[in-house]
Symmetry: C2
Subunit: 349 residues, 2 copies
DNA sequence: CTGTTAGCGCGTTCAC
DNA sequence: GTGAACGCGCTAACAG
């Protein structure tokens, strides 16, 4: 059944995709009935539904959702923007979002910024052009234009992984600074006094800066020196950079007792480098990370770190989003949700 | 300037998003002119363009691309489906795609399957509903229905990370089996004779099965025993599972000389577990991985592995896609592109 | 350089 | 349970 003398038409692969009208014609019904048959919980007689299903299979028809959403004014997806997909903390958050969206008829559209707010701005615009029903962001730092677009988009906006002073809309996160303070306090209570910090150079990674801020604050409060800070590399700092940074730290302050790292990844690099140099961890130097990645529980010695509820952040963000979208429940969800974090003490400290 | 007695209209946040017509009216032009002003390389006088830009800013207008693509019949995005976002091999591929798409006006829509073909099928359908201009898949194993949808979609399809016997359309990949064979041969040449293999239980991870197949084939060819295979856990097998698997292997075949793992992640888990038990790597047991993840170059001892051109796979897949879409060049791109892999020998063997 | 007309493929709304 | 008219917001094609 080739259409006409279209030249390119053959048997399948090429040619225009069939439309709902093609299906309707083949099934001997109107397009409207096909539309109904494709939608859950609409009333179509069993016989016609079968004819339609058959026509759909024969034609290989796939619904054109973009056309549909233009008409229904519902695009059926939410956007999420994370710094990096190759980071299990953030991909856990993405997983939390996906899981919480299951069964809501909403799909996740994921974008990643490589830790660049400029790239974030581009992504925000690209996403908004496709009219998501809500948007989930990582962190509270955006370009002015990005922020303006979000405010004017008329959709729920959730900032995560942070507690912004002036949130755009809703928030699901925790204070990175407070978490690092807790880690310092915990280790100080064990008797450590000479702390070092390993993190990235720039303020580009806002969460990294906040962690460093917490490090300094806690030490100052405890009356301990807080100047042993190695800033090294563009975020996200890699394992290898953690290795290099710990070397710098030991050259500069050889009597450092414990090195806190902006993430488990750099902490792991530091740990391996120390072993390579014949140092015993934690006897010669203790090391701690941040994020409780899989590697922290598996390396040798196992790594002390901060566990963050990455998955829960995603779940709760998506929940808050769907509640707002569906205007469900008697009242709006809370604007701010604080998520848990805790110190996980292991053998590296 | 509130519209009418709409009740909900106020000043910003609430209310319907402005349309192109709103912008046009405010700028004193027709919608078509606004459309042109928004598109690169169209001729609009400087004065009107400025008025339009101003109106856009005042209204906070963002183009509705889904409406536009319905009309222009170009959605401006390509879909890519990978098994997991939390896996640097695949996220490197995603990065390669993103980079190659830069400047083409095409955006990436990413989905992940958690290594499930059923989930892949759902994703394929969800993606096709939004009418991507091309689609990139990981691997050559799909459900029959998934395959049919892809064949009938009328868009270029690229299968990656594999060399399927019967490709749907185009391919950018390598033979996982051949890569593992090469690793076995390289290590056999160094004198190893008693090889073990650590991988997942099921055939769900097709690349994992292919690697195991290569392991067995190479050993049989060399006349060495090929039965020391530990199958453990659902893919993707984690670091922790690698640790458990190596314990099983050593219990069952204590004289194993070298353990090859389905990926660097499980290899790393095995490595750490051996150290925890006081075994020296590679003296007591050698370990090798697959994928050349960051961790392989950073752990101690550094890990022997297979380096795969993950980023290049993404880049070339996207290139092939854009070439096909734009019908550019005098001829179609090659159907099959084989990418490089190589053994990286380090201290763990 | 700019405007007009028509229609992309579907869902809403109403009628039957 | 089914169909017809209409319009979602935008752009192609043509006219001026």
């Amino acid at each position: 059944m080739t259409k006409t003398a279209d030249g390119k038409m053959g048997d399948g692969k090429t040619g225009e995709a069939p439309t709902m009208n093609d299906v309707a014609r083949r099934a001997g019904v109107s397009a409207m009935t096909v539309s109904r048959a494709l939608k859950e919980g609409s009333h179509v007689s069993k016989a016609t539904r079968e004819r339609i299903t058959q026509a759909i299979n024969e034609l290989g028809y796939v619904l054109d959702q973009s056309a549909g959403s233009l008409s229904s004014r519902r695009t059926g997806f939410v956007a999420a923007i994370i710094p990096s997909i190759n980071n299990s903390n953030f991909s856990d958050t993405a997983r939390g979002i996906t899981d919480a969206l299951e069964g809501t008829g909403l799909q996740l559209l994921l974008g990643y910024t490589n830790y660049s707010v400029e790239r974030e701005e581009e992504l925000i615009e690209a996403m908004l052009r496709r009219r998501p029903e809500g948007i989930i962001l990582t962190g509270g730092a955006h370009t002015p234009r990005g922020r303006r677009m979000l405010e004017q988009a008329g959709i729920p906006v959730i900032e995560t992984w942070d507690t912004p002073a002036d949130p755009i809309d809703k928030v699901v996160g925790f204070s990175n600074g407070a978490a690092m303070e807790l880690l310092v306090e915990t280790l100080a209570a064990k008797g450590y006094e000479r702390f070092g910090y390993i993190g990235g150079t720039t303020a580009r990674d806002t969460r990294g800066s906040q962690r460093r801020g917490g490090f300094v604050r806690a030490l100052e409060r405890l009356g301990l020196p807080s100047d042993r800070v190695i800033s090294f590399g563009v975020p996200p700092i890699s394992m290898e950079q953690g290795a290099q940074a710990v070397v710098s730290m030991l050259e500069r302050w050889p009597d450092t007792q414990v090195a806190l790292c902006v993430s488990d990844l750099s902490a792991f690099g530091a740990l391996m480098e120390c072993q390579r140099r014949g140092m015993k961890v934690p006897d010669d130097i203790a090391i701690a990370g941040f994020g409780d990645y899989e590697i922290a529980a598996c390396c040798h010695p196992r790594m002390t770190t901060i566990n963050v509820d990455c998955y829960g952040i995603g779940r709760q963000a998506a929940l808050k989003l769907t509640q707002t979208i569906q205007g469900m429940a008697t009242e709006e969800p809370e604007r701010i949700t604080l998520t848990d974090f805790r110190v996980v003490e292991r053998e590296s400290t």
